[in-house]
């Protein structure tokens, strides 16, 4: 479960997940309240420092933050029409800082750690939510992604072999039906391997 995690041993990597999550929400809230351009510049600088401390190279950072910039290229001029360039620029800046903070969380926390954090957050609700089952479902889904991806690939290949272009429908029906059969078989295996209700 590598995901988007960028391995490292910085203090940001080592901060406990839930604390990091709390700091992230505080950070995003504060950034949302910034009203002056110079405050935003300070925040931007601070985020930059955090990335340096975490030792995140530009490439993975860009992969996380880049997509937002594309959206802003359209959104900022549009917004400038309504509210002027200063407001539009501030909005864009706040968004970029908040996105960079959230991305930093994702880049410095393993998927396993985040899932454990989620489970800990669920703890107060344990009367209604069976954490063991949640963990099982998560692992089962991770196992099923390559399985379903293979089903999709095979159906596509079969279509190509027959030389039919076919519609999306001709593709989706076999994918869904085969996925359902796979689910039945996996359900049977889970029972055989000792999981009962």
């Amino acid at each position: 479960m590598i995901g988007l995690y960028h391995p490292g041993s910085s203090i940001i990597h080592r901060t406990p997940t839930l604390l990091k999550l709390l700091l992230l929400s505080v950070g995003v809230t504060v950034v949302g309240l910034l009203g002056q351009p110079w405050q935003l510049l300070v925040a931007l600088g601070a985020v930059f420092v955090l990335y340096v401390v975490a030792g995140i190279p530009p490439r993975p950072a860009w992969q996380q933050i880049g997509p937002i910039l594309w959206i802003l290229i359209i959104a900022v001029p549009l917004q400038a029409l309504f509210a002027g360039w200063t407001t539009a620029g501030m909005m864009a800046g706040r968004l970029v800082v908040a996105v960079a903070l959230a991305a930093l969380f994702t880049l410095t926390t393993t998927v396993t750690a985040v899932l454990e954090g989620f489970q800990a957050l669920l703890h107060p609700f344990r009367r209604w939510i069976d954490a063991d089952r949640v963990g099982l479902l998560v692992a089962l889904t991770l196992r099923c992604i390559p399985l379903v991806a293979e089903i999709v690939a095979e159906v596509l290949e079969a279509r190509r072999a027959r030389g039919t272009q076919g519609s999306l429908l001709a593709l989706a029906v076999p994918v869904v039906v085969r996925s359902l059969y796979a689910a039945d078989a996996i359900g049977e295996a889970l029972v055989a391997r000792g999981l009962d209700d």
């Binding site: 796979a182 078989a185 029972v191 055989a192 009962d196």
Partner: protein, 226 residues
């Protein structure tokens, strides 16, 4: 060896009857079940660990009624499916083997130790942390075996375990099944898998068509096919 009994077992899916009044008393070490597609043999072996509950009649393992004691029986019965892809339920090789040991009251260390031993036995140690879906077809079936045997069942049931494998891997799985100290019940089309078995049951159209020594059973099965 354990004693598996089918007592007047019949089964139907809706109106379609797949098994009729099966009476069997199985206590040999290695037992083969052969029959054509749709003969009911897969349904039959799924009753041994309660995956399917018969419409009428009872199946028991060492005197335990499977329908009423499914959980206990399943701990003694390991099941190998035809398609190992559907048997793998966890993302990595090691996690998948360890899954069988959950809720067995073992400590983390015991689970790790037994998992490592099972991986070693089937030559999968080097793949322990790999995603299970990257294994070859033969390795996946070895993983399925490891994941079943790690729990040390008394009985191993295998439903056409070599059908989807190439000849080399089929031979390897066959040898492993033949060498097992556990009681083994194998459903198959591949008759050579049954060399050295103690007993072979031929199922045809939901009934026991023959039951006896492998040689005689295979003759009878070939006649059925002819």
């Amino acid at each position: 060896m354990t004693r598996i009994t089918f007592d007047g077992v019949s089964h139907s899916y809706g109106k379609r009857s797949v098994l009729r009044d099966i009476r069997l008393d199985l206590s040999e070490h290695r037992i083969g079940v052969v029959g054509a597609n749709g003969s009911g043999k897969s349904t039959l072996v799924r009753m041994i660990n309660g995956l399917i509950t018969p419409t009428s009649g009872t199946v028991s393992v060492d005197g335990l009624n499977v329908a009423r004691n499914a959980r206990e029986v399943r701990r003694q019965v390991g099941f190998i499916f035809t398609n190992p892809d559907n048997q793998i339920v966890m993302p990595t090789v090691q996690e998948d083997v360890a899954f069988t040991l959950r809720r067995r009251g073992l400590t983390r260390e015991q689970v790790a130790e037994r998992t490592a031993a099972a991986l070693d036995r089937f030559g999968l140690t080097a793949h322990a942390d790999h995603p299970a879906h990257r294994l070859s077809g033969g390795q996946k079936q070895l993983l399925a075996l490891a994941a079943v045997l790690v729990a040390e069942p008394k009985i191993v049931v295998a439903d056409e375990p070599t059908t989807l494998l190439d000849a080399r891997n089929a031979r390897r799985i066959t040898e492993l099944l033949q060498e097992m100290s556990q009681q083994v019940i194998v459903v198959t089309h591949q008759l050579e898998l049954l060399a050295g078995f103690d007993r072979v049951v031929v199922i045809d159209e939901g009934e026991v068509a023959f039951d006896g020594s492998p040689d005689a059973a295979l003759d009878s099965y070939r006649e059925l096919l002819a």
